[in-house]
Symmetry: C2
Subunit: 513 residues, 2 copies
């Protein structure tokens, strides 16, 4: 057994089942080791941003880390933007980054770079393996680090000789530091605060946004009248019919301020205080009114669902009924093709337990509003603001939950960053339907240009315009092996979307509006 095999077997022993990979020469032994360990599935991606985004999507759905396999510093570098998004989602990920053999580094060959420096801005844990004899133990430690609540990014740098030298051990899984319980006295204190506050709100993030946490939060709301909030971009949110609704904080600075203006007390449940996404001249970055008190029910690494349940038990002795999203008929789609009408179609056909990967930028709000009472589903948002997350995330979600339909909503601008993901969807025959909102522009930038007080002239306007030349997403998808179509009317869109929901496998629908 060489170091690579020791590593892969140790990852498997620690519960890693998937490796999203874009390997190179220095990772050859790792790739060969994948052959010998059936329990780790290798998923080839043609660009590293797809690799890391897929690992993020996998983590959000599976609740545990996949491994990535990346080729030296530049390979890691290509994956950094989606690792930034994953870090903001507190997704557990184990990066395996191949590097030159230890004795080769001194020669400063063309691919030499400081891998550790590339890793630092996104990694909570970094280690360079010293020997094939310890690489198995390093792998177990990397998984442990990644799984530390609420989840974080662990990067293990693997010099080629630590992969090819002889090894002799497979490391067992190490204990995982799960979410810490919240002290009952602390919960009692928050309970009193909630009862005494005038207009309190709970801001939920992380596991609190799964159905059990939402049900508990809803009982608290019913008993105390407090608002239940979530961030504009939550890593994973259960929503739809029969699930208590949570109010999403809006995107723009002045909307946030208005939305929160009456809040006298904000209680954080695995969340941070709400702030504006960007600064704007003369506008406020801080979302809360000056007089608003902030308290913390649970930190991100603590057991938010448990704390919510205990809090709910404390407040809701009255057993007031909590409010769920009603089972009501889905609205007619309307006549014009656009985010809202597309949202109505999605709401009509979305199967239960579907997963929505949302990288639709300006088109997202319309879909979110329209799918409010769709069948219960999980919504994954762009957590770090680096567009190009949606398509890879859909891959990971689908690999984690092969029995669930994944719908990926992508802007045409956003999708272009990681379009290579389509090839992997085809290769792995993933049950993903991609909807591309083809508005032929970086639409958000047209809006932002005005908001920051800049005056766009002809050149500037051209910088947000994606219509010259027009992309043909249906053709691009077909070129990457994904069945695709192009629609310009809502009736046509409905026909194709209904069909995609009724069948398995990857589809792309380009909605031109």
């Amino acid at each position: 057994m060489n170091g690579a095999e020791s590593l892969v077997r140790s990852l498997a022993a620690s519960g890693v089942e998937v490796c999203f990979a874009n390997p190179g020469t220095s990772e050859m032994h790792f790739v060969a080791a994948l052959d010998k360990v059936d329990s780790v599935r290798g998923v080839l991606c043609l660009f590293e941003g797809v690799v890391t985004g897929a690992a993020d999507g996998y983590a959000r759905i599976a609740g545990k880390p996949a491994a990535t396999l990346l080729h030296l510093g530049p390979g890691l570098a290509n994956g950094l933007a989606n690792l930034h998004n994953a870090r903001r989602a507190s997704s557990p990920i184990v990066n395996i980054v191949g590097d030159h053999a230890t004795h080769h580094t001194r020669y400063d060959a063309p691919l030499t770079s400081s891998v550790i420096d590339f890793a630092r801005p996104v990694s909570a844990w970094i280690h360079t393996s010293q020997s094939a004899l310890s690489v198995g133990a390093d792998a177990a430690r990397a998984v442990q680090a990644a799984r530390a609540a609420p989840g974080q990014i662990a990067t293990l740098i693997l010099p080629a000789d630590t992969a090819w030298d002889e090894a002799n051990s497979v490391a067992s899984a190490l204990p995982v530091q799960g979410p810490l319980p919240v002290d009952s006295a602390h919960i009692e204190r928050i309970l009193q605060l909630l009862k005494s506050a005038k207009r309190p709100s709970l801001l939920l993030r992380g596991d609190a946004l799964k159905a059990p946490g939402l049900h508990a939060a809803s009982r608290i709301a019913a008993a105390t009248g407090c608002r239940i909030l979530c961030d504009t971009f939550a890593p994973a949110l259960d929503r739809g019919r029969g699930i208590p609704e949570v109010e999403r904080i809006p995107y723009f600075s002045e909307q946030i301020v208005d939305f929160l203006k009456d809040t006298t007390c904000l209680i954080l449940v695995g969340a941070k205080p709400p702030v504006a996404f960007f600064a704007y001249p003369g506008k406020q970055s801080w979302g809360l009114p000056a007089h608003c008190k902030i308290d913390v029910l649970s930190h991100p690494h603590e057991d938010s669902p448990g704390a919510l349940a205990a809090l709910a038990d404390g407040v809701s002795s009255s057993r007031k009924k909590s409010t769920l999203v009603p089972f009501k008929g889905v609205e007619a789609a309307g006549h014009t093709l656009g985010p809202t009408t597309i949202g109505h179609v999605i709401a009509k056909y979305l199967p239960e337990r579907a997963i929505i990967s949302d990288d639709a930028a300006t088109s997202s709000a319309g879909v979110l509003a329209a799918t409010r009472s769709a069948a219960p589903h999980t919504h994954l948002a762009l957590t770090g603001g680096s567009i190009g997350q949606g398509l890879p995330l859909a891959i990971g979600a689908s690999v984690a939950a092969p029995g669930q339909k994944v719908v990926c909503l992508s802007g045409d601008g956003a999708g272009m960053y990681t379009l290579q993901a389509l090839w992997t969807m085809a290769r792995e025959e993933l049950d993903v339907t991609v909807v591309v909102f083809a508005n032929r522009s970086y639409r958000i930038l047209n809006i932002e240009m005005e908001r920051v007080g800049a005056t766009p002239g002809k050149t500037a306007a051209a910088m947000f315009d994606l219509s010259n030349p027009e992309m043909n997403w249906a053709m691009i998808a077909a070129g990457l092996g994904v069945e695709s179509c192009r629609t310009a009317s809502i009736s046509d869109f409905e026909k194709h979307f209904a069909d995609a929901m009724a069948r398995k496998g990857p589809h792309l629908i380009e909605a031109v509006f």
Copy 2:
């Protein structure tokens, strides 16, 4: 005038004429400023790896920096791999990276990251602007830093408020630290060394590989019998009919050792000692024989062409004629479509002063051999080993030299990393012909797997196989607005290549073999 306008006008005053851009909200004022400064051309790219690769290609041909415009840490991160390649090419580049407004950073909004940490591994100079009042001066300094011989990467981080606050000045260009002259006594010493050494070689890099340096080197070779060498991957090499030929050091470790085995003395001309690209178990990383002496005619930041010319004057009083690549007829293409036959077709039709951007991996050697006596042209190689450089590089080269035909050779694996480049080629109507070598695999990895002594099983082999599904590059290119075709025979390829050479504008030819 705001900070952004002060910045753009200062860049222009320092000779920056092009800005390759992928902007976001924090860069809106910079974009608006581009409207007001006609002398800086904004070129929109849909992914940051295209932005930075284009800036590299521009620098290699124009010999001066373009600016990039990147969106915060993740935007820079997406551009890092091609900045790694650019760093290895000693290409001057000025990165402008927008960041949050100074007062917004403390809120740790979703897109917040440590931009400076992302910049560090690839940048020789980094600075964060403090005020709109000094941003113009910062720009002038950034250009000065980028232009310091032999060329380097300067990264200027621009907080949004330093762009939108009021400014009042345009900075003048600062003096550029060009290549330092080599002392004549030192040249005399090398001259004696050359005369006394048994089997000396000159290893050239940088400006030494342009025609004047090659002519001087060729005179030295004629007079002394020394070999003239270049690295496997040279940033820019003039070659073809009428230009003295240089021996390219081969790629694989054992080939290098064999190639250099008789060298008793290696004289570096802007180059570093030759080493293996990767380490292999039991193989040598160091390329030279143990007994070989190393001396330096010129360091990378020194005037290599000048030193070569002086050396040539010293040795060649005999006026022996130097050897040029002969003007001979181009060989017939042969019957099977493949790198060599494609190379013969390229050699037949390549116009004078064409630029070849080569990211063709295993297909490159065949083309290089076949184009040995093509019309004089400049060859740009993958300098940092991070594939996905070729298409962006072609953009930059074409923007720098609009009157010259650019031919981009790309592997199908390599091209997939930055295929968004095709859209910019169409948008800017660049005179680029892309040849995709569609061998449907990471072919190099099949070779490397064997060489590193690993045994590929079924899973491993699948990790290098790009045939499931088959990509259709012709369709992808059409979807991105580029005229394209697919060829499976050499006669068909010849027809399409001849046609592309006869016309202007972007074309893509997918060669399936």
